[in-house]
Structures are given as structure tokens and as C-alpha cells.
Amino acid sequence: MIPSAFDYVRPADLGEALRILKEREGEAKVLSGGFSLLPLIKLRLAQPGLLVDLRDVGGLNGLTRDGDLFRIGGRATHRQILEDRPLTDALPIMKDAASRIGDPQIRNWGTIGGSVAHADPAADWPAVLQALHASIVLRSADGERTVPARGFFIDTFTTGIEPAEILTEIQIPFPPPRSGGSYQKLERRAGDFSTVGAAVQMTLGADGRITQIGIGLTAVADSPFAATHAEDALRGAHPNDELFREAAAAASRQSRPATDSHGPAEYKRAMVTEMTARALRAALARAQAQG
């Protein structure tokens, strides 16, 4: 498939990239790894007039711990995340998700910022970032703003990012003691987009109660969302299997899956219950192992 014609620039630094985006607002698209954007362009579902390739823009692919925050550069690849031991030791949910995205070639080149900005409802990072109460840093020629991941994903392929902004960083709070998380992905074939994905991050108090809980769901609504009803049922409670089943059922009731080639909506709702329950049990086991 041959894309329609476009212009291409490869700015040397972030300032130049932001200037170009501002000057060509509305017709320019940012190119990161390309494994989300180029398939759309090849199918002519997107026809940008100008691609702004961030390849040569430095300082956007770091993975660092800065006090109580992990800072992940927007151009960090899935593979970099998968292999970053300080990050995946503290947040194994990041490894769960990164290891199930696409295939090895795609993980070599696809970036977290590209995936998040693209906002495919079946992509894995958006639900994980909502479970982790992560924040997203957006830069434009006029300044910088930091927005919560919850609320960023507005609709299918639609986020709160403005046309002249670049997603430069993702910030994840460093988990307190007795924390654990898990991402459970149901896929039809290895490497597929999710049929259903459930992300859970949990923190236990000294008395064993759930003090913090985040649940994000993939592919079962127009955009990935936080299962707040399930979170409300869990917060402050002592974890047990019956409670987990109730919370998972609440997550399922909050989901709005569509019938498509991955299966009927009814099946997906049942799978939300199952995958959420699995993620809750796995997250609890990890949190307890840390205690």
C-alpha cells in the first residue's frame, strides 16, 4: 500500500520540532516509532501534509527515577521499558504490558509516547497508565502542561493532546511498600491487539486493607477507562476472593464493549469479569510478596 504524498522534516531538537508544529498546525503529525501512525497512513485513514520525525530529537527516551516519580521519555521503546530493571522490579505491571505488545520487531521500534498519543482503544498502555495514576507531560512552543492519564483518553484515536503539542514524558508515581500490580491481556493470537485487557495496581496498609487501588480496562469501550465503581468497592476493604469477584463484576457492568471480529459484546463483558479478577488476584499476590 502506497501512502498519499506528504512532506517530511527531521528537526534536530525539541524547540525546532515545536516551532514547526505551531507553524503547520493542523496539517503536521508527529512521527515517533511509526508502528501506529504508518499503518494508518498506508491505509489512507490518515493523510497528514507533513510528518515531523522526532528521531533526532535528543532527551526524549530516558527512563529515570526522580524522587517519588518514574520519568519515561515519550520516545522510550516498548523494548527499553521491558528491559529496565529498576522500573520493572518496582512496577512489574509495566513488564506484563510491554512483553505482550505486538511482536519483537514492533517492540524494538514502537514507543510508549506514540502508542499513548495514538490512543487505539485496544492498545495496552492507556489502561495501565490509568491504573497507575500516571501523568502525561505535553510540550508546545508556548509552554508545558502535565495532565492526569485519567481523562486524557477522550474517544477512539482521540486524546486531550493539542495539534501543536508533543507528548514528551510519562510520569508514574513510585509505588509505596506493599504494592503490587498486574496486567492481564486476552488476545486471540499471540501479539494481537487485546480482546480484553485488565490492569490493576494495588497497595495494602499495614493491617492488610487495600489503601490504594487503580483499575484500567483495555478494548471494552470507545477508549480505555478507569473502572471506578470496582475501585470504590475495593478501597479500604480487606482483600478476599468474594470481594474480588464482586469488584470484577462491577468493572464489567461499567464496560461498554462493541461486538466485532474479536467477539460479541456479551462475551467481552464476561471476559472483563474474568480478566479483572485474575489481575486482582495476581496484584494481591505481588503486593503480599513485597510486604
Binding site: 502506497i2 508502528f35 505486538g102 519483537p104 520487531q105
Partner: protein
């Protein structure tokens, strides 16, 4: 739309071209440079037939623009054999009947070469995971996995002899 100058090193040889930005890397290799060993299968980044190495990382060249590779070191299937001596992966695919129609083979070999660079002694599961982005519609993968395992052994032996 203006054309852009692209300069890449392909299998050790510097090559240059003026290209439209929309030209895909796989078409630069096949049509501009005449290196037709890299195949276009699904053209949607699923099948892996177009797998090559870009700066040492395996990549699906149907989902990269030629301009993105400007300045890069590229390795394709044509860069694997040493004159008339097949690369151990090529020899192993031959020995183990790791192909039938052969369409997926260049991509399989390039992805396997990257995998063995990362992990010289993979388990069967790791081999299968490593080629999970490469589809073969003939063999059922059994002989491909055997071939990669044979090549891993040969490469380790060659390494130990150094």
C-alpha cells in the same frame, strides 16, 4: 512534494538515492537498490517477511519510511552469506527443511539472527517467542524452530573456537 536525499549503508556498501518521503524502506531496498531478497508479504506489519536489521535492531521494513533510515546501517538477507559459504542460519534452514515455499524465509532468518545476537542459547519457548512476529503458512514452524536451534549451536561452537 519535495524529494529527500537518503544515504544508507546496506550490507557494508554505502548507497544513496533521492526519494519521495512516502517511499517505504522495503521499496527502497527492492525497487531502488534491486535487493529483492527482502519480501513484502502482508504489507501491514503482521507477517514479518520484510524483516531486516536497522542499526542492529530487527525491524519490519514495510512499516518504515526510507527517509527514517537515512544514515542507518542496514543488513538484509543478501548480507548473510560469506561468498559461497552460507550463514549458519541459512545452512540450518537448508539442513532442517525449515522452509517449503520460502517466502517467509528471509524474514525468518533476519529475525532469528537478531534473536541469537540477543540470546545465543535460547530455549524452544524463547525461539518461538522470538519469531512470534514472523508467519509461515507452510511448515507449522517445527522445522524452523529446529533450524534456529541448530544454528544457535553452530554459532556458539564457532564463537568458542575463536
Amino acid at each position: 512534494m519535495t524529494t529527500q536525499h537518503v544515504r544508507v549503508t546496506v550490507n557494508g556498501t554505502v548507497r544513496e538515492a533521492d526519494v519521495e518521503p512516502r517511499l517505504l524502506l522495503v521499496h527502497l531496498l527492492r525497487e531502488t537498490f534491486g535487493l529483492t531478497g527482502t519480501h513484502v508479504g502482508c504489507d501491514t506489519s503482521n507477517c514479518g517477511a520484510c524483516t531486516i536489521h536497522v542499526n542492529g535492531l530487527s525491524a519490519k521494513s514495510c512499516t518504515m519510511l526510507a527517509v527514517q533510515a537515512d544514515g542507518a546501517e542496514i543488513r538484509t538477507i543478501e548480507g548473510m552469506a560469506d561468498g559461497a559459504t552460507l550463514h549458519p542460519l541459512q545452512q540450518a534452514f537448508w539442513d532442517q527443511h525449515g522452509l517449503q515455499c520460502g517466502f517467509c524465509t528471509p524474514g525468518m532468518i533476519m529475525q532469528s539472527a537478531w534473536l541469537l545476537g540477543q540470546n545465543p542459547d535460547p530455549t524452544e519457548d524463547q525461539i518461538r517467542e522470538g519469531i512470534s512476529g514472523n508467519l509461515c503458512r507452510c511448515t507449522g514452524y517445527v522445522n524452523i524452530v529446529k533450524a534456529i536451534d541448530q544454528a544457535a549451536g553452530a554459532l556458539r561452537a564457532a564463537d568458542a573456537a575463536k
